[in-house]
């Protein structure tokens, strides 16, 4: 064995990966060759230095997101998924609408700061929330959404029948949207910063996704002697033909319902919206019924009322 051959084998020898005969030949060479022994020491030292590099520590929050996905995606969960398919969360609705209705995310300051502040304080207590999904979104009656919210992190899955359309994960500052890159892998299709703090199923969960240039009008509407906050979100420059109306409990500013309108040739039409939003804190169920904008013409496919 010459020096070149010996040195090519040093690494495998040190790793215990060299065959028995080759290792014996190398050992013989090393007894006679101080240069190769020095070389072996150098390789050994470098390996030690590499092994001593500290491992980057995995952030804890990924565990919730990934084990949650495992729970939802395992084959035996499919039956459960179908059973609970109507349940989604308000934040899921925000994400889903973003994906489905192609809202542009452009920017202008949101004026309703006082309402936001109250809402932020109130929603600290919300840990879980579900929305009974409306089933008329873009004429896709098989569309369903599932969502989880815990410890300030949120994830949502959008399904069409048994096919998953998107996965969205909010990590504390950004909303990451994934779509299928192949039949089995997911590709990160977008990454969108939230411009207002995200607090679970709150108005900010929806408004934060619109970007800073969205225009938000806060008004109050009455329903059964109760007053509701109504946030009307528009994007006049970039998406003048769509608007979203969000209804919130004025005491807690928790999201109660939402509607999406499209301006078609015949005027404003209701494109979709939530039915029931449930919180794990007491909310008056009567608040789930709400009024529509005055100039809205409602297309009734799910129990909504013509204005």
């Amino acid at each position: 064995m010459n020096c070149q051959h010996a040195q090519e084998n040093l690494k495998a020898y040190l790793d215990g990966e060299l065959g028995r005969l080759a290792a014996a030949a190398l050992r013989r060479h090393l007894t006679m060759c101080p240069a190769c022994r020095a070389e072996m020491e150098a390789v050994h030292m470098l390996s030690k230095r590499l092994a001593s590099l500290s491992a980057p520590e995995a952030p804890a929050h990924l565990r919730d997101a990934i084990t949650g996905a495992a729970r939802a995606l395992r084959p035996s969960a499919a039956r459960v998924r179908r059973r609970v398919a109507q349940w989604v969360a308000a934040a899921a609705a925000a994400g889903g609408l973003i994906a489905a209705l192609s809202f542009a995310f452009l920017a202008r300051p949101v004026p309703a700061q006082a309402a936001f502040d109250r809402m932020l304080a109130a929603t600290e207590q919300v840990k879980t929330c579900h929305v009974r999904q409306w089933l008329q979104q873009l004429n896709q009656p098989r569309d369903t959404m599932e969502t989880w919210y815990a410890n300030g992190r949120w994830r949502m899955e959008h399904w069409r029948g048994d096919q998953q359309i998107t996965l969205q994960v909010y990590d504390g500052s950004k909303l990451h949207s994934y779509g299928p890159a192949t039949n089995t892998a997911y590709l990160n299709i977008s990454e969108q910063p939230f411009h207002t703090p995200f607090r679970g199923f709150s108005v900010s969960a929806m408004l934060g996704a619109f970007g800073k240039n969205a225009e938000v009008q806060l008004s109050q509407v009455r329903k059964d002697r109760r007053r509701l906050n109504q946030f009307t979100v528009t994007q006049p420059k970039d998406n003048p033909r769509e608007r979203m109306v969000i209804f919130a409990d004025p005491k807690t500013d928790l999201l109660l319902a939402f509607e999406v309108y499209g301006h078609l040739d015949t005027g404003w039409k209701l494109m979709g919206g939530s039915e029931v939003i449930q919180f794990n804190i007491p909310v008056d169920p009567e608040l789930f019924a709400f009024t529509y904008p005055e100039d809205a013409k409602v297309v009734d496919k799910g129990g909504a009322t013509e204005q």
């Binding site: 190769c36 070389e39 030292m45 980057p56 952030p59 590709l187």
Partner: protein
Amino acid sequence: MRQDEGRLIRDYLAGSDAAFAILFDRHHPSLYAFAHRLSGDPQEAEDLCQSAWLEVIRSLRSYRGRGPFRAWLHAIALNLYKDGLRRSRLDLIALDDEELPAGLATDPQRELERLDAARALEAALNRLNPAHREVLILHELQGLKYREIADILDCPLGTVKSRLHHAMVALRATLQEAGVGQGLPGQGAQP
């Protein structure tokens, strides 16, 4: 594959979320470290991990313990890194694999002298060509065996051995170029 991992996978497919959690807790720290070392970016490492685990979840039924789970997981992450996530970012950032890390471009020698040994080593590692870097990360940092690496890279065992040798030579040369190879005898010494 560790003997009980086959059972964990079967239990998960049969409906046990706890079984998946055990599998996850066992492998995720290493997977994240791998993703982080590959990408050099925490956010990208998170994306990569999520994508890799989703792929694992979707493929477990057909996997059925064909080989070491750890190697399979690393292979998925590496392929995702190569095929998808990394490339999409590179399109935007246009990083050059041969380029010096940011901040080192003006005066590499002086800058590297300022870094501690670990950072210098990591910087040198990042300057290697992708094939050398991958194999060093897989073996030296992730602790995978040659056979596992051969499976991951889908290449002969001899290629792994040879590539590791050349990667070590290249790494030492890079360190010496940067002036942080002290204590390491010169490469390729001849009697």
